[in-house]
Amino acid sequence: MTSTILYPVIALSALGLLAAVVLYLVAQRFRVFEDPRIDEVEEALPGANCGGCGYAGCRNFAEALVNSESFEGLYCPVGGNETMEAVARILGRESTAKEPQVAVLRCNGSCEYRPKINQYDGVSSCAVASALYGGDTGCQYGCLGLGDCVEVCTFDALHMDPVTGLPVVDDDKCTACGACVKACPRNLFELRKRWKGNKKIYVACMNEDKGGIARKNCSVACIGCAKCFKVCPYEAITMNNNLAFIDSYKCKLCRKCVLECPTASILEIGFPPRKEKTSEGVGEARIEKEKTKGTDA
């Protein structure tokens, strides 16, 4: 009776011991040397493996940081300056601070403003639809609304708004990793300077068509009239291909351009509401739009 219990126990223990010895020897013999700082740096990184830094994952990025001379071109947008400082401490270098950023969608063409002219019936992928044709509205620059960006966001910061059919960025969750910027086949996402209180002013349009055509296809399209360009006191606005662009690093949030825009394609978000008074008739379009609009994008 004892033997039937004892022998297997002894045999298995012996086997286990033998395996342990072999494993130990093999591990010693075939050890690969690795800079121990890589582990430390990886520890300091957020560990989201989002690829926002341009590397496949945090481990790769840690290797790149350790092996590089300086931090030139290496930045973890998710961890931000804090993380980079921690990494700098580990490696005994200086870190260069960057201003925090946030992603914005440069399209406001919801179903209401941008009527559908055909129905898309392929797979639910912006990449596939974009390779196929100009989209289910007349605007071939705008959001396709199939959610490739939502799919790639590892931080749960993007969601489709079922009413507008456009993705919505959750500013508090967005880490500006840039995954959506890469995923969008229409290049509608832009990483902009993050202002206090998540205040934002930007041109929510990428339509390069001539004014009339753009307007016909989408009532909140930028028509390239350059009124905002003229009114901007800080030279933050540039005009290119019938399209205005506000540089978020030059913009001082004066909101003059917002009132000027005849199609209300410049959005202001995170500001207290304006008084319903317009000076010299400008900004009528904006107020008109706001009356019919629900929540802002």
Partner: protein
């Protein structure tokens, strides 16, 4: 004996409802929109300006670079503007807008319908003339013909394959051409033969067009070493690689060209265009287009000027049926769905197909049951189920290993899938992305 290719293939219902219709000239439209990118390769550069008056057949845009093609005016009139217009690609691209005044042809074009049988030009001149006349592959790929005829150094063409397969369901434009313009096609073949310097010619026609086989066989007797071969009906036999395999049993190598196995293939429509370009000095500014659909009143084959809006074709075929759900430029297997009927007809547009609403929606996607039907129908010996999932996961290295670039996008996999999975949608996406990676690798770093 009937020829066919060995690997894969499907048998979709043929629906060749317009095959009895003779070719009719479509009325010249009041205005045309001629896209500058109607061919594979770089878009043509316009050589006319707004306000210029052009004659039918006059050059309006010149091919930019080697792989590109000339574009000619298809009507005579005034250039209204040179602007962007939505074309078959579904995007706005540069195009020339002409307002029709009349139909005054360029004086150099020979409008005598009699068959011209003497080929006076030499091989080199034939090729450059074909290039000047803007002839491209009319089967659908729109590859510039003069490029195809310029056989790379060190390679030799042995067989000229003429593609009269028309394996896409519904389409009958090549069929109609083979019935009515058999003599001209045969002359076109002689010209191509002289340009390439080849002896042997095989014309491949699927045996659902016995009248076309008969017609061309009779005409072929006048010439030496031209064989008209009947083919078993199987899609995608009209694919260049499949046709070459079917007719001469050679496989074009992966990543290679037909000329690697000594073959050069042209569509019958292209052969006809070559005839007109060389013997009549007529540029490619019109083509045969099938307008078809189950609910259409008069499914027909029209001779259409390039740049005519699709709506004019549908109107001439009896008007847009009430139940139309989808309009396709080309056949149902490889054609492109159109967002509107304002799109102009281009050189590569062989048909306009109207599908009723109940046939235009896809079915619900179900999980893959790994039935391997896609693997067995793939004419290129690929594994579509695997390519699709690799593409969804962005595994580009594996995709390349699994030969995604060999895919000819024939759609047999999506057609056959019992779970109605969008195999080709994702494979096409993966192919585009892998193609980009390969091109960036080729460029010197």
């Amino acid at each position: 004996m009937l020829y066919t290719f060995s690997k894969g293939g499907i048998h979709p219902p043929e629906h060749k409802i317009s095959s009895d219709s003779r070719i009719r000239d479509l009325q010249i439209p009041a205005s045309v929109v001629i896209p500058l990118s109607q061919h594979l390769g770089a878009p043509a550069r316009p050589v006319v300006n707004k306000g210029d008056v052009v004659k039918t057949g006059q050059l309006i845009a010149k091919g930019d670079g080697f792989v590109s093609s000339n574009v000619h005016a298809s009507v005579s009139g005034k250039i209204v503007k040179i602007d962007k217009a939505v074309d078959l690609s579904g995007y706005q691209r540069p195009a020339v807008f002409i307002e029709t005044a009349d139909d005054e042809w360029d004086e150099t074009i020979d409008r005598n319908p009699a068959l011209a049988t003497v080929i006076s030009l030499e091989s080199h001149d034939i090729i450059s003339r074909i290039g000047e006349m803007g002839v491209v592959g009319l089967g659908g790929a729109t590859f510039p013909s003069h490029v195809k005829l310029s056989v790379p150094r060190g390679k030799k063409a042995e067989v000229l394959i003429i593609n009269g397969v028309e394996c896409e369901p519904y389409l009958t434009s090549d069929h109609a051409l083979m019935i009515e313009k058999g003599e001209e096609i045969m002359m076109g073949i002689q010209i191509l033969r002289k340009a390439l310097g080849v002896e042997k010619v095989i014309v491949g026609i699927e045996n659902n067009k016995p009248d076309a086989i008969r017609n061309l066989s009779v005409i072929a007797k006048k010439y030496q070493a031209v064989k008209v071969a009947g083919l078993k009906v199987k899609y995608p036999q009209g694919g260049e690689k499949q046709l070459i395999k079917a007719l001469i049993n050679r496989e074009v190598p992966s990543g290679g060209l037909p000329v690697d196995v000594g073959a050069v293939a042209f569509n019958v429509g292209t052969a006809f265009a070559v005839y007109e370009a060389i013997q009549k000095n007529k540029p490619l500014f019109e083509r045969i287009v099938t307008v078809t659909g189950k609910s259409l009143k008069k499914p027909s084959n029209f001779r259409v000027r390039i740049g005519t809006p699709v709506s004019a074709l549908i109107e001439a075929a009896g008007g847009l049926p009430e139940d139309t759900g989808k309009i396709i430029a080309g056949g149902p297997m490889m054609g492109k769905a159109l967002a509107s009927t304002d799109v102009p007809v281009v050189k590569g547009c062989s048909g306009i197909l109207l599908l009723p609403e109940n046939e235009s929606k896809r079915n619900r996607i179900e999980p893959c049951i790994r039935c391997s039907k896609c693997v067995s129908v793939c004419p290129m010996g690929l594994e579509p189920y695997l390519l699709m999932s690799l593409s969804q996961k962005d595994m580009f290295d594996r995709l390349e290993e699994e030969k995604v670039m060999d895919c000819i996008e024939c759609g047999s996999c999506s057609y056959t899938c019992p779970a109605k999975r969008p195999l080709l949608d994702y494979i096409r996406l993966g192919k585009a992305r892998v193609g980009k990676i390969i091109r960036s690798r080729k460029k010197p770093a």
